[in-house]
Symmetry: C2
Subunit: 285 residues, 2 copies
């Protein structure tokens, strides 16, 4: 391997795999090495540019912490997360998926169907309800929904010391008809974090830093593939330019205003309030 | 951008660049996005595999510190650093280059030509000497050599609390004939760090973790392109399988034994000692 040249180095690197490596790991790493090398060759990356990249990755690590993974943000901004999501999507049999994002937290408090997530939060009040179903439309009782969203200031509770722990973050098990329902405030559009290499990358790309308002869902039930998805406010100003490419046609929904106090009474809300109806469909495992 | 599909997502991501982005940044990021997406498509990366990658990058950040950049190690192990080095090489006009590696430290103590770097170190003693020259063979007086190497235990001083600060790490200005010389111990072959994601990657690739013994040099002089290179012990057992692909034919040199006490006296050494003669050639800036 002393006789390395720019012409043969890729083949020499790929030639170092012994025969007994795990076939899937070999497939992934072989392709990764090939494509990283093609990229370096394509742009004739300079040593200075390579050092800038190494420094950016170092600083992405420095700014990451247990509730913030800057590498996920960078993957999101480059459309890699969205592509992985689309490749692994269940649609059209089941509900379309959308990336998990960096703000999911396990083991949120459990809420009964019909329960309230608003508590002390200010914001436009409303209700989200529907069912968790099989692709054929049969109810899935006892399915676990995990729900999380921004507060009115555009922040998730786990990155905002001013919010109570688990604020606007709940788990809920569907009722006998596969039904779920909860009252909450309308999520708001927000910018991705502006203090790390992800933000610098956005600057280089000259892109808008906004995500349209959305609710996150992770839904699991025995015998079904877990579903990670989002519901977007369809008339959000950023609905057509989500900075992390998470919006899907079928997931942009109406947060329709309802002026009936009789309807509002059902949920202990005051009219007018907004209302989302959405049935999730899970695919068999 | 609601109508994202796995077929169109790459074009949609590339379509977000406004017209006024910096042309070189656009070129690099466009190619990076294209090749990352090609990689994801090529192997049909699963969501779980993507999460494993995000976790690996997170942990690479966690284990990095101001004297250790795990991302540089990963780039080295995948042959990316070597490819960048080969693409930007000065050869054949000047001395071949080799990657900087993660152990360079600026502003090491200054040593006069002929000075001693051994101090309290045990190991096989010898001398390295030669000249810094133009491609035409004219001497470059006052060129700055920065030299760093492992101690006998295979560690660099900046990652080994048991070594004195700046141990086996010096700067030296060439004399009137472009001459340099220093006594030192023979560098040893060593394994890359075994406690981070880089090591895990090596395990997946089933590769040996060794670097052949080498001396690092960074050489600068006004009016010339800086030269980053290494000199390798040509009969090292790992000379043909450097884990980071840094060896070049012209940089594998003889650490020849010299039994003459008369020669040894010149350098305050005891015979037998080893001797390396090497002239570096710098290319005009």
């Amino acid at each position: 391997m002393k006789n390395l040249t720019k012409e043969n180095v890729t083949d020499k690197v790929l030639g170092t795999f012994p025969a007994d490596t795990n076939p899937r790991e070999r497939e992934i790493l072989t392709s990764l090495i090939k494509h990283l090398h093609l990229f370096v060759r394509d742009v004739s990356l300079t040593t200075g540019e390579w050092l800038t990249a190494m420094d950016g990755l170092y600083r992405a690590g420095e700014i990451s912490n247990p509730v913030r993974n800057e590498f996920i943000l960078i993957s999101d901004l480059l459309g890699v997360s969205s592509l992985v999501d689309l490749i692994n999507d269940n649609a059209p049999i089941a509900t379309e998926t959308s990336p998990l994002g960096p703000f999911f937290v396990k083991d949120a408090p459990l809420l009964e169907p019909g329960g309230d997530m608003i508590e002390e939060n200010s914001g436009t009040q409303g209700v989200v309800r529907g069912h968790v179903l099989t692709p054929e439309g049969k109810p899935i009782p006892g399915a676990l929904l995990e729900i999380w969203q921004t507060a009115e200031n555009g922040l998730y509770e786990n990155v905002d010391p001013d919010q109570p722990k688990s604020n606007l973050r709940r788990r809920m098990k569907t009722g006998p008809e596969g039904n779920y329902a909860f009252t909450t405030i309308q999520p708001v559009s927000y910018q991705v974090p502006d203090d790390g290499p992800g933000w610098e990358l956005l600057g280089m790309m000259g892109r808008n830093p906004w995500r349209p308002a959305h609710l996150h869902f992770k839904i699991s039930a025995e015998g079904f593939r877990p579903l990670v998805t989002e519901l977007f406010v369809e008339d959000d100003p950023y609905i057509d330019e989500d900075v992390v490419f998470g919006v899907r046609n079928s997931l942009a929904v109406s947060f329709a205003t309802n002026s009936s106090q009789q309807d509002a009474d059902q949920f202990n809300l005051k009219a007018p309030f907004w209302q989302v109806e959405f049935d999730f469909k899970l695919q068999s495992a």
